[in-house]
């Protein structure tokens, strides 16, 4: 019995094109079989894409998704432009969801334990019978431990549990308990606040990494960029308060590096200063009155002046927002931080405007806290639990004190796991009932009150898995449980509930069926009645009153030796792996971490000054010791960490899960004490001081981008707000539009928003001028070896005079891109999107460490300054498609050449692999296939059939997604028209949450890219080499920028 994927089943739907085009050979090796459909699905045309709408379930945010399928295979995930959560964008995790679908380490079928690490395949019938037997025996002693069920699954689980005497517990490792607890205390509402970043000009984050993992990162990133990025002469402001900068912190304009455990003091100090200036403290007046700003300054380590500055900006603006704490800043006083944030928002008048308190269903009261989990473990250990059903959580990995968790699991006689992966917890189970991946499932999800999103299968299941909802129904039927539904499948149950609760008597003419179809097409429904905003409660509970009264003196304790070699240990969530559940996604392992740029491993972040003192360089193996033990991991010098603090990311160090996750790095949870915040029950992640010891051993760091210093080469540039404004005014259109752009327009029957609703600016096209100094320098450089430019240096200037020959004519478009560094948050979703779109090989840790990573687009992350003046610049770097590309003329075989439409082409089948082009590329964006990289079955099912798979010895690089250009041209041709602006969007630009990348034909002065590129902030990297690149970068507007009386020159 094979445990592999359903190859044969799959072939039935494969249709006519081969899976994954390859470069090897000319197809002479054996006859290829063509497998036609027996009965074709109506909407599938071989060779064209079919799109399905669904909802991402990789983290609890619930982004709307479009899934592109080809011949029945899902090949690409994109954001659903209609979704209020994803805005058509996805993060890297969402992009990598396909790797969850095709994960080669998925549990392929139900398995029953035979022995240690030994499993018997069983039929679904057998498996369900065994489960039913156990439930029958353990009535009243069974617990269903699930992740965050919302919507219909919650309803079903309730029925299932109630009818069979099962106790339910929903637990998310990132449960944000302090937020709920604090709102309960301050406002009397048990809710996670809904934050409106789009309307917040000033944001203070007290450790909430809202651009990475916090609540709804894609929504927040998209919205925050809208309000924060420079546009039309104004720009938002963001302050990061905390000892360690995660990706969100690196994006802040200002950093208040407070001592760990004192975030609430900073918040209260700011609140006090605002209140003193006339802010309305409301119910918190008493608390605020106690705050001693000078004392807070002393204890946080931040000057009163800084507080005063921040308070002035925060209050004066009127549209501000404070958020926090995040998972990493959950210390013993975390509830106080959340309360202080709530008070700060109240004082600044944000409640009801940028902060709304609604019951967010996904973090509803039913969600268990870490303390609840601890209690469950106790009961398990005491033998009170006869059967444990686990669907989602992985406590053995995500909870500290794993020996206790393991003992508790061992004490349960029967554990059934619905996990599709053999993770740490499910490997202790007795019965594995693998759930479908969400892309194979039916379901719904409530990402926020008022929005119910639909999950629909986009392809036939890859393995012999079964949806857990179906299993529940089936088991309930077997046991004749008194459930109140007629449905036999979860699909029926879902529709039943939608017909009853979500769209009762839906107003659409066709009744429910039409409404249902419409909902599937849109991807979600919005409830008509908005949730009633919560109001502050008149009275506060006693425990809260005590906390509120004492919080101004509260300070989170950190246990562990204090001393010279002892540091605050920060454990922070991973952008890539979330809480660790996504660690087996090869794309995410290979993705350089947005902060450290490490891949495939863990690292410990140490401030460079501290590192210097301890003579630690990047890659030195450091032993980190806490009261729970010692771990060895490579060091990385992170200037965004306080000198007395070290930080380790969560999510790695798996003992199970699969080949990509297994034994990579360390699980920082193992270093933590099982401490719960007494007020909220949250796991306290910031609790310990750790000692570090430099072993002096050095290993080549598995890192992309070893140098974080631009070395004065002005690659990622910045500009002051005044200069940016001035330059735009000079150009005669101060109101240069760069707003939320058009989404990619997936063809097919699904309706999408019409493009063209963006350009509200003045469509004046102005040639970007060359600064006189630049011109002079260019001429000077001519005498030092460079050719002075004598042709049109703008990106529109292709082809240059002298090359007009054959197809090279002015009539051709020039594809180009504009990248607004103001809008790039460094999240690297583009990189993963590019991997998914372009069949980029995954090279593995050894090769990454050598420097052979194949990413076509990388995010460079440069640091400048230090401490409070630290400035981080992110810069997406990919092939610049230079008009006078240095890589092209050096290729002896024309494998690199310039297409008539202005693309820098790389023809794989012509490439002989001299690698001269890579040497001659100043941007170093060409990557080489040092080996043939292969995708284990069934990961290869994901390969984009429109893109050649490269073999060893071939150079490759960004193509501007030429397959999409050709596709658009083909389609346009069918409709007898030219390609429209916005019709071609490369994968990177499509997914960018900040809309930093704009693509189009720059020769069309009305195209969006032409207008954006004409910005006064525009520049091109290494312009002095006269590459005439097609990518215009827009400078980041920074408070750290120098006023440019002296113009910058390369």
């Amino acid at each position: 019995m094979s445990n592999g994927p359903n190859r044969r089943e799959f072939l039935k739907v494969l249709g006519v094109t081969g899976a994954g085009a390859g470069l090897t050979g000319c197809g002479t090796g054996g006859a290829e079989r063509l497998i036609p459909y027996v009965t074709p699905a109506e909407e599938i045309v071989p060779g064209t894409s079919t799109w399905y709408r669904t909802t991402c379930r990789e983290c609890p945010a619930g982004c709307g998704m479009n899934i592109r399928t080809r011949e029945g295979r899902a090949v690409k995930a994109e954001g659903n432009p209609l979704s209020p959560i994803s805005h058509g964008r996805l993060c890297a995790r969402g992009q990598a969801s396909l790797h969850g679908l095709y994960d080669p380490d998925r549990v392929p079928r139900p398995l029953a334990r035979k022995g240690e690490d030994d499993w018997n395949p069983v039929s679904w019938d057998d498996a369900e019978r065994q489960l039913a037997d156990q439930l029958q025996q353990n009535r009243g002693r069974t617990v269903l431990l699930s992740g965050n069920y919302t919507g219909t699954m919650d309803v079903l689980a309730d029925q299932f549990a109630a009818s069979l005497g099962i106790e339910r517990l929903s637990w998310e490792p990132f449960g944000y308990e302090p937020l709920r607890a604090a709102n309960r205390m301050v406002f009397g509402v048990d809710a996670v606040p809904v934050n409106d970043f789009r309307n917040a000009d000033v944001v203070i984050s007290f450790g909430a990494d809202f651009l990475e993992t916090w609540l709804s990162p894609v929504d927040y990133a998209h919205s925050w960029v809208q309000s924060h990025a420079y546009s039309q002469g104004r720009k938002g402001h963001m302050v990061w308060v905390g000892p360690h900068q995660s990706l969100t912190g690196l994006n802040a304009d200002e950093w208040l590096p407070v001592r760990p455990g004192t975030e609430h003091l900073a918040a209260l100090a700011i609140a006090r200063l605002i209140a003193d200036a006339g802010g309305n403290a409301g119910s918190a007046a008493a608390t605020i009155a106690n705050v001693d700003v000078a004392n807070a300054a002393q204890r946080t380590g931040v000057s009163v002046d800084r507080f005063r500055q921040v308070a002035r900006i925060f209050a004066a603006n009127g549209r501000s927002l404070a958020v926090g704490p995040g998972v990493a800043s959950t210390h013993a006083a975390a509830t106080a931080v959340a309360a202080a944030v709530a008070i700060l928002n109240q004082v600044a008048g944000n409640i009801g405007s940028t902060v709304r308190l609604e019951n967010r269903e996904e973090h509803a009261a039913g969600t268990a806290s870490y303390a609840d989990m601890q209690r469950l473990l106790q009961r398990m250990q005491q033998g009170e639990i006869g059967a444990l059903l686990v669907h989602g959580p992985n406590p053995l990995y995500n909870m500290p004190e794993n020996d206790v968790v393991e003992a508790a699991l061992a004490a349960v006689p029967f554990i059934a796991s619905f996990s599709p992966m053999l993770d740490e917890t499910s490997s202790k189970a007795h019965l594995l009932l693998p759930d479908h991946h969400f892309l194979e499932s039916w379901g719904d999800f409530v990402p926020r009150t008022g929005v119910t999103a639909l999950v629909q299968p986009v392809m036939t299941p890859v393995f012999q898995s079964k949806q857990t909802g179906d299993v529940m129904l089936s088991v309930a039927r077997r046991l004749n449980a008194p459930i109140t539904t007629q449905a036999n499948t979860y699909y029926d149950f879902l529709r039943e509930r939608w017909a009853r609760d979500i769209m009762p008597g839906s107003g659409i003419a066709g009744g429910f069926e039409d409404a249902w179809r419409e909902a599937l097409k849109v991807g979600y429904v919005q409830s008509t009645a908005p949730a009633a905003p919560a109001t502050a409660a008149a009275s506060t509970p006693d425990s809260a009153a005590g906390m509120l009264a004492s919080m101004n003196v509260m300070e989170a304790a950190f246990t562990g030796e204090a001393g010279d070699d002892s540091y605050y240990l920060i454990a922070y969530p991973s952008y890539r792996f979330f809480d660790g559940r996504l660690a087996n996604r090869a794309w995410l392992q290979e993705l350089p971490d947005p902060i450290s740029k490490f891949c495939w491993s863990s690292w410990v972040e140490i401030n460079p000054a501290t590192a210097d003192r301890l003579r630690i360089d990047n890659g030195h193996i450091i032993e980190v010791t806490t009261s729970r033990g010692t771990m060895s991991l490579p060091a990385w010098r992170h200037p965004g960490t306080r000198e007395d603090t070290i930080a380790i990311q969560m999510g790695q160090g798996h003992e199970g899960l699969g080949r990509y996750a297994h034994d990579r790095g360390v699980n920082v949870m193992r270093l933590l004490e099982p401490a719960a915040d007494p007020l909220s029950g949250a796991l306290v992640t910031a609790q310990l001081r750790a000692t570090i010891h430099n072993t002096r051993k050095w290993e080549r760091p598995i890192q992309a981008g070893l140098h974080s210093d631009q070395d004065g080469r002005q690659i990622a540039r910045n500009i002051t707000l005044e200069d940016a404004r001035h330059r735009d005014e000079e150009r005669g259109f101060a109101l240069l539009p760069i707003t939320a752009g058009p989404q990619v327009t997936p063809r097919g029957e699904h309706p999408v928003r019409a493009p063209g609703d963006y350009g509200r600016g003045v469509g004046v096209h102005v040639e970007p001028d060359v600064h006189p100094f630049d011109a002079r320098v260019k001429n000077l450089q001519g005498s030092a070896g460079w050719s002075p430019t004598d042709v049109d240096a703008s990106p529109m200037g292709w082809p240059p005079p002298g090359t007009h020959y054959g197809e090279y004519s002015e009539a051709q478009p020039r594809w180009a891109m504009a990248i607004d560094l103001e809008r790039c948050i460094g999240c690297s979703a583009c990189t993963t999107a590019c991997y998914a779109e372009n069949n980029i090989g995954i090279v593995g840790p050894e090769q990454v460490a050598k420097g052979r990573i194949l990413h076509w687009i990388r995010i460079e992350r440069y640091f400048e300054g230090e401490g409070e003046n630290l400035e981080t610049q992110f810069l997406p770097m990919m092939c610049q498609h230079c008009g006078t590309a240095p890589c092209e003329p050096v290729c002896p075989v024309y494998a690199a050449y310039h297409t008539p439409d202005g693309l820098n082409a790389q023809v794989y089948n012509r490439c002989v692999g001299t690698r001269y082009c890579a040497n001659n590329c100043p941007y170093k964006v060409r990557v080489f296939n040092w080996y043939s990289y292969e995708w284990p079955e069934p990961l290869n099912w994901q390969l984009n059939p429109d893109v050649t798979v490269r073999e060893k010895g071939v150079m490759e690089k960004c193509t501007f997604c030429v397959q999409r250009i050709r596709d658009a041209e083909n389609t346009a041709r069918l409709e007898d028209r030219g390609a429209r602006d916005g019709e071609v969007t490369p994968a990177c630009a499509q997914t960018c949450p900040g809309d930093a990348l704009v693509f189009g034909n720059i020769k069309d002065p009305n195209s969006r890219v032409a207008r954006v590129a004409a910005s006064g902030r525009g520049y091109r990297v290494f312009e002095g080499i006269n590459t005439q690149s097609a990518i215009t970068y827009l400078k980041k507007v920074s408070i750290h920028a120098e006023t440019a009386s002296a113009p910058e020159a390369h």
Binding site: V791, G802, Y805, Y808, T884, P886, E888, P889, Y897, H898
Partner: protein, 179 residues
């Protein structure tokens, strides 16, 4: 009756000056078809034989010029045949062609020089003449004359008088087997 006989006289010499002296005398005596064997190139011998300028140089010149022309024409044609722009440079990138042209000048020039040598020196020879003596490639010189019939004695005398170490008569110019 002045037909040149097919039988010749071969004089073998140890010294260069006796060889040249013999040649001068033979020429003075109106002998044609003098074949001289020598272990090294020698101006003295050439001088004595009154040999003209070797035509090999024309081969070299023509070859080199052909190479230069090809070096410009071929890249131009090939680039126009399928015009592809690289690095924004003109399709006919003249300066780059110079290098190709230079190398082809040398290549064609050298190859046609070799051809010139082979054609003019009648090489390669599959077989060697019967008269050939292995010592000609070491330290001895040889003079083969095809005297008009009746003058064999005259030739012999000249050779002997000028210090021939050895004189072989009635040798055939025919070629026999490998050496």
């Amino acid at each position: 009756m002045s037909a040149v006989s097919s039988q010749g006289t071969l004089g073998v010499y140890d010294a260069l000056d006796s060889t040249t002296a013999t040649i001068e005398r033979l020429r003075a005596a109106g002998m044609k078809r003098i074949t001289v064997f020598s272990p090294l190139p020698s101006h003295e011998l050439e001088h004595a034989l009154h040999a003209g300028e070797s035509p090999v140089r024309m081969f070299t010149l023509v070859g080199a010029l052909t190479g230069a022309a090809t070096g410009f024409a071929f890249p131009t044609w090939a680039s126009m045949d399928w015009p592809l722009v690289t690095g924004g440079k003109p399709i006919i990138s003249g300066p780059a062609w110079v290098i190709i042209a230079f190398e082809l000048t040398i290549l064609f020039g050298a190859l046609s020089t070799v051809a010139g040598l082979f054609i003019n020196a009648r090489l390669p020879q599959r077989r060697v003449m019967q008269v050939y003596d292995p010592s000609f490639s070491s330290d001895r010189f040889g003079i083969l004359v095809m005297p008009p019939s009746g003058r064999e004695a005259e030739v012999r005398d000249i050779m002997r008088d000028n210090g021939a170490a050895e004189i072989r008569e009635q040798v055939q110019e025919v070629k026999v087997g490998d050496l």
